[in-house]
Amino acid sequence: MNAPVLRMQGITKRFGDLVANDDISLALHAGEVLALLGENGAGKSTLMSILFGHYVADAGQTEVFGRPLPPGDTRAALAAGVGMVHQHFTLADNLTVLDNVMLGTEGLGGLVTRRAQALARLQAVALRSGLTVPAHARVASLSVGERQRVEILKALYRGARVLVLDEPTAVLTPQESQSLFVTLRQLVAQGMAVIFISHKLDEVMAISQRVMVLRGGRVVAEAATASTSKAELARWMVGQSVAGLQREAARPRAGTAARLQVQGLDAAGGRVHLQQVSLDIHAGEILGIAGVSGNGQGLLAEALSGVAPRTAGTVTIDGEPLRASAQDVVQQGVARVPEDRQAIGVVGDLPIWENLCAEALRTPTLSRWGWVRRAQAQAYAQRVLAAFDVRGATLQRRTRALSGGNMQKLILGRVLQRADGQAPRVIIAHQPTWGLDIGAVNFVHGRLRAARDAGAAVLLISDDLDEIELLADRIAVMCHGRLSPSRIATEWTREQLGLAMAGETEAQPHAA
């Protein structure tokens, strides 16, 4: 085979203690589709951001067509012929297709735009690639599939010979995906080199010649696609279970009525809708929801937290219907640990004691006639800080100053040790340990287990299968806004989980 068009060698990138990319090497040849497969947080996006100059790697180098690419320079990457199609489009809705394609290709100083030449060149590129989009249509009037074609055209127009597609089918209908694949095959036949990022196994099998699997920032497998199988890819992607020894025996309490019951829940979100989600959790039980993020888990957490409206279905706690507003939901004994602790969990500019009291401030425990009972509130805050070992915290300090782990302890303290002294009945924990160091992870896990043992019904939503297997008594998998039936945690194998997360519904564990 001839020399590779793109070579990344020994790429390492750390964010604090987290190693996002650990000595990753990659070679890509002309006329080839390389699939980059991995869970969320496996390091795919970081690697591509380094290629594209958004990040500077701590170690390693990148060569395009044999020439080294200066690190951290997006313009140089574009000039060298690397084109990127982001999952979230970077188009100006109010401009035409032609304007969007031309954007950034002309110097700032020029007074005349060369629209005629640009149009001719765009049409030539479109003809060669088979991507037809009306050049004078406004982007706002285009469908999602057409917008993606504009993104690809934009890259081709700038002379891209290496094309990176970041989860391109996530937003497409199956028909649009098929048409994308036709385009890609045509481009590849003309000598384009493509990196195709995905976690959908079917697509990887269909489009790629080679596949590289990342997990935890490392390359765990690299193979010719033809010589592997979906089952093997799923196993590589999610790894081997490490939970076996550490997990405590599940103790499902069948027979009693469920504490949290969700029946036929629908909710509308941005891209994914919840469709007929049903689940029930008994007191003293953790239900884990596994899945690739963005499949509706966030919406489910929000709907049960009183933040997103529910459009159909019933939700009850110990038989009483769950009310609509966030404040009422808290009143009913729901402890909510949001996914984004910095942006949603706390108001960073307010002092720590006010964030600790935020949910309970409007209850008689902490206020009377609209006046905050400061002495009680601050005493309560002090107790929680001590009980949950929030380090670096004083009552008056701005909450933003806390580290991620301590911020999460603050949120846990607020919802688990309530100002009114009640124990939480239901806990909704969404990615409770995302981005935390191992000490904080163990702390959070310990508190969730303790709350379960004290009788709470815990809904644990996580991308991290290790976490799910470690904590959950039962597991269900979410995909495309639908929730699979739950099974006892030990009845799932990693392979089955991986396949279910990828939407392979036939892989329900019957024969397990």
């Binding site: 404040q327 960073g348 307010l350 006010e354 935020a358 949910e359 409007r362 006046w371 400061r374």
Partner: protein, 354 residues
């Protein structure tokens, strides 16, 4: 060149930034005075004397500060919740008109009751004026900066129509001005032989009340949380719509109160030139005070002093009193720059060439 967040803000940094801001303002003013051909030290001395140098000067400054305090508080409470009310000017006029409509002799009632009714009507008028833009923001995402700003012109034209029509004082010899407020309703003077009136006490009371509201009540927490991070506030259970409505009523009400106090304390009737932009200056004052209600008191006395002092100085020095506007504007820019530089540091990168 780029900005980098400072991990830690020291007292030294704060002192350096604020003294830098003061020096910058003085330098700009001095340059303009020099350009006008006047001696700098003497001009500054006359400005100071005209603003704070005598009981009379101080009384004039405080008189000017009263409406500024109230519009400053109106901007403060709104901006705290990230409701950018630029319409205090219109709300002030609406309050003034409402005050005269109630207290201009149309209603017969004992004076204390009528006085209370007058203030209530003025606050309600200002409050309702802001309610519309706030609702449009919540329901349809209409930018309140634009809607409240445009409301000012509508209100001013409407007030003009009223003053030339139904509310015109027949005894005013054709001038477009409203009937005079009943004498019983006028605010008494704080110092004899001066214009400073008990409206100052109302303004100080409003500042203290707003400070207590923001600091000690659940509504105050809701307002601060909503302004600092609306999504997190909603997650924690802050009633977003209700809080935003209350903020709009409060902010508009304070600006309306400014109109009523001006009429009852100083002018006695409404004309179209009763406010030289108090509503807009209130925004500057709120920013100078870093949205702290008690600091609004100091900031409005300071700004009023600059305005009054410049007026007085220009009479004897021949330096245009527009110097005051430049000083106020550059003070705002200097304070904003200083507060940014305490939170961020400037980094200069070498231009990269590949």
């Amino acid at each position: 060149m780029r900005l980098e967040a400072r991990a830690h803000i020291s007292t030294v940094d704060l002192l350096r930034a604020s003294s830098g801001a003061v020096i910058a303002v003085l330098a700009v003013a001095a340059a303009l005075v020099a350009a006008a051909g006047a001696p700098i030290a003497q001009t500054f001395g006359l400005m100071w004397a005209g603003a704070f140098g005598s009981v009379f000067a101080l009384s004039e400054t405080l008189t000017r500060a009263i409406p500024l305090m109230l519009t400053g508080l109106a901007a403060t409470v709104a901006f705290k919740a990230r409701l950018f009310n630029i319409g205090a000017e219109g709300q002030l006029y609406a309050g003034a008109i409402a005050a005269v409509a109630v207290g201009g002799g149309a209603i017969e009632a004992p004076a204390p009751l009528l006085f209370a009714l007058m203030l209530a009507a003025a606050m309600l008028a200002g409050a309702l004026l802001l309610l519309g833009p706030a609702l449009m923001k919540l329901w349809w995402g209409v930018d309140e900066v634009v809607s409240t700003l445009l409301m000012n012109f509508i209100v001013l034209l409407g007030v003009g129509a009223l003053l030339d029509g139904p509310m015109k004082d027949a005894a005013a010899m054709g001038w477009p001005q409203s009937v005079a407020l009943l004498g019983d309703l006028e605010l008494s003077k704080l110092i004899a032989q001066t214009r400073v009136h008990t409206g100052l006490l109302w303004s100080l009371g409003a500042a203290a009340a707003l400070w207590a509201l923001l600091r000690f009540t659940t509504l105050g927490f809701d307002i601060r949380a909503l302004g600092a991070n609306a999504r997190a506030a909603a997650f924690a259970g802050v009633p977003v719509t209700r809080t935003m409505m209350l903020v709009a009523l409060l902010s508009g009400g304070l600006a309306g109160l400014a109109g009523a106090i001006e009429v009852a304390g100083r002018t006695g009737y409404v004309t179209l030139d009763m406010s030289p932009g108090y509503g807009y200056t209130g925004i500057v004052i709120a920013m100078l005070a870093a949205l702290h209600p008690l600091a609004v008191v100091g900031a409005s006395v300071l700004v009023a002093g600059v305005l009054v002092g410049a007026d007085s100085m220009s009479r004897s020095m021949g330096v245009p009193s527009y110097l005051a506007d430049v000083v106020v504007a550059s003070a705002l820019l200097a304070v904003l720059t200083a507060s940014m530089l305490t939170r961020y540091r400037l980094r200069f990168d070498r231009a990269r060439k590949s």
